[in-house]
């Protein structure tokens, strides 16, 4: 099998997260292969975002193991995850509104001429050039890179956030509802960036409510329901109705009989 030969980038075993008595995530066994783009779908409260928060170090899981790039990891902060090559595009964007595009792309890892601690002088020319390259490689066009993020449209902001992730992610990108707040054209632009990532072979986990988008972009779809993974299907071997049936619990993994009649 060619699939089995391809190395697994991310794997979780029995990943569990309880918030007090609430079982937000229960025994999630997930895997992601190198170069693979997968989607996580599910209803509100199905555990999608909880899952992402565990694997990006935003929260510590209650139980279970995470294997990343061949070894078991425990991320105690998003920065720890980032240092391992995982970049996340958060729902709230995490951009500094009053800074321009290069400053945001390089926030927290600025290029400097020489190291004087906090008073290191920034190498703005290099950052501007590399920002331009980064945006070119993700096919993002922003008219004036020196413009502040505050003055940009939602689509442009999202493109900057995604470009930042794409520029620095060496091993994995996670996007939490990247197009939820965008218009049609802007969504198309973000989807184009995701396609360039596929071409570059960077694995992606996409959380989306938009099944059309999911079928357009990813190889494999993981369905979450009520804190559990109810299944993973290859895009080519399924269709929208089956996914919807899994999301709503009509098909497979439904342990509550009443759910079958929803």
């Amino acid at each position: 099998m060619s699939d089995a030969e391809r190395s697994i980038i991310l794997r979780t075993e029995g990943l569990t997260k309880h918030y007090g008595g609430v079982r937000a995530l229960e025994g999630a066994d997930f895997e992601l292969r190198a170069g693979e783009h997968v989607a996580i779908v599910g209803d509100n409260g199905a555990g999608k975002s909880t899952f992402v928060r565990q694997i990006t170090g935003v929260e510590r899981p209650t139980g279970g193991k995470i294997f990343f790039d061949g070894s078991e990891v425990e991320f105690d902060s998003p920065i720890a995850a980032r240092e391992q090559g995982i970049e996340t595009v958060f729902q709230n964007l995490a951009l500094a509104d009053d800074l321009d595009v290069p400053s945001n792309l390089f926030l927290g890892r600025e290029e400097r001429y020489f190291n004087l601690g906090p008073f290191s002088i920034l190498n703005e020319r290099l950052m501007l050039r590399r920002a331009r390259e980064a945006l070119t490689s993700t096919a993002v066009k922003i008219p004036n890179l020196k413009n502040k993020i505050r003055n940009m449209s939602g689509g442009q902001r999202q493109c900057v956030a995604i470009s930042r992730a794409a520029t620095f992610a060496s091993k994995l990108i996670i996007m939490d509802e990247p197009t939820a707040a965008l218009g049609v054209q802007e969504t198309a632009q973000v989807e184009n960036i995701i396609r360039t990532l596929k071409a570059r072979g960077i694995p992606l986990i996409l959380i989306s409510h938009n099944l059309r988008q999911v079928f357009d972009l990813v190889d494999r779809i993981w369905v979450f329901r009520r804190g559990q993974i109810v299944g993973a299907v290859d895009k080519d071997k399924t269709h929208g109705n089956e996914i919807v049936a899994m999301i709503t619990g009509v098909k497979q993994g439904s342990d509550e009989p009443e759910a079958a009649f929803v």
């Binding site: 920065i79 413009n147 003055n151 054209q185 632009q189 184009n192």
Partner: protein, 349 residues
Amino acid sequence: MTEATIDAVKEVPTAERTHRYWPGEVNVLIGLVVICLVFELLGWIQPIWRSDIAAQSFLLNPTRLSIIVGQVSITGIIAVGVTQVIITGGIDLSSGSVVGAAAMIAMSFAQSSTYARAVYPHLTDLPIVMPAVIAVICGALAGFVNGALVAYTKVPSFIATLGMMVTARGVANWYTRGQPISFPTNGYTVFGSGLHPVLIFLAIAVLFQLVLRYTLYGRHTYAIGSNEQAARVSGINVERHLLLVYTIAGALAGVAALVLTSKNLTAQAGMGLMYELDAIAMAVIGGVSLSGGRGSIFGTVLGALIFGVITSGFTFLGIDAYYQQMIKGAIIVVAVVQDVYRQRLRGRA
């Protein structure tokens, strides 16, 4: 096909967006020029209502210009530090009291030993470097405590620095039980004599304008002020950075204390009273947004000049000091309203 969509996205914003490249400082500069011209005009026509005064120029008077800068230079030094705190989204109410405390402590190391030598002949004057360094250290220490409270205990900066404001004033009074300290050594007067306060103010302003604009420190200061959460997830050590910003603001209050005592040749516990509010007002007039993330030292310097020009202009026109305060207050409110209004414009887009 992809080209078309991308271009479509690009088209929308550019037209309405051009005027926004206009930096906030330009508005402040225009304000400064307009205020100067108004005083200039009034200067030429004031004999109409004041028989004792001849028509004269407001601006073409080097003495007046140096007084204008001179009287704002000490609060201006404080404002440079306060500006940085405000850019991180905080506020520093303690700087005036810190000036008082640092002034007392520094001055005690600058006293001339001429009289004391009558009793203790072996005494010598301390080199002026001592009080200078001590003033800065005292200020930095107070700023460090402010920063530690804000960064690590998450106390709102308003409350933390309010506490320091009261405490530092207490220290200033306690240090000599309210007695003033006078008679500094001859060398000590160097910091406050002639145009030296102005030069110190301008040097500090230029230095920090460059630091904020071109260094990692500046970039992170703006980043924290515009989106602290983003700064945090981007790997910036927000706590350590805030500690540094407040410490620098405190150290600059120490410098202001040094210049002030050197200029007045005395230190009193009440020194620097309300300076923090003048400094905050200068920053706000200069376009530094109280919600953080926006503004510059250059703007604050312009704000300080507006402050100085108005004070000097009112005196020039013989307007009562009471009216001066009222009008200054109104100007501060107008500056903040303007900032809020601009933010609302942006929010709508």
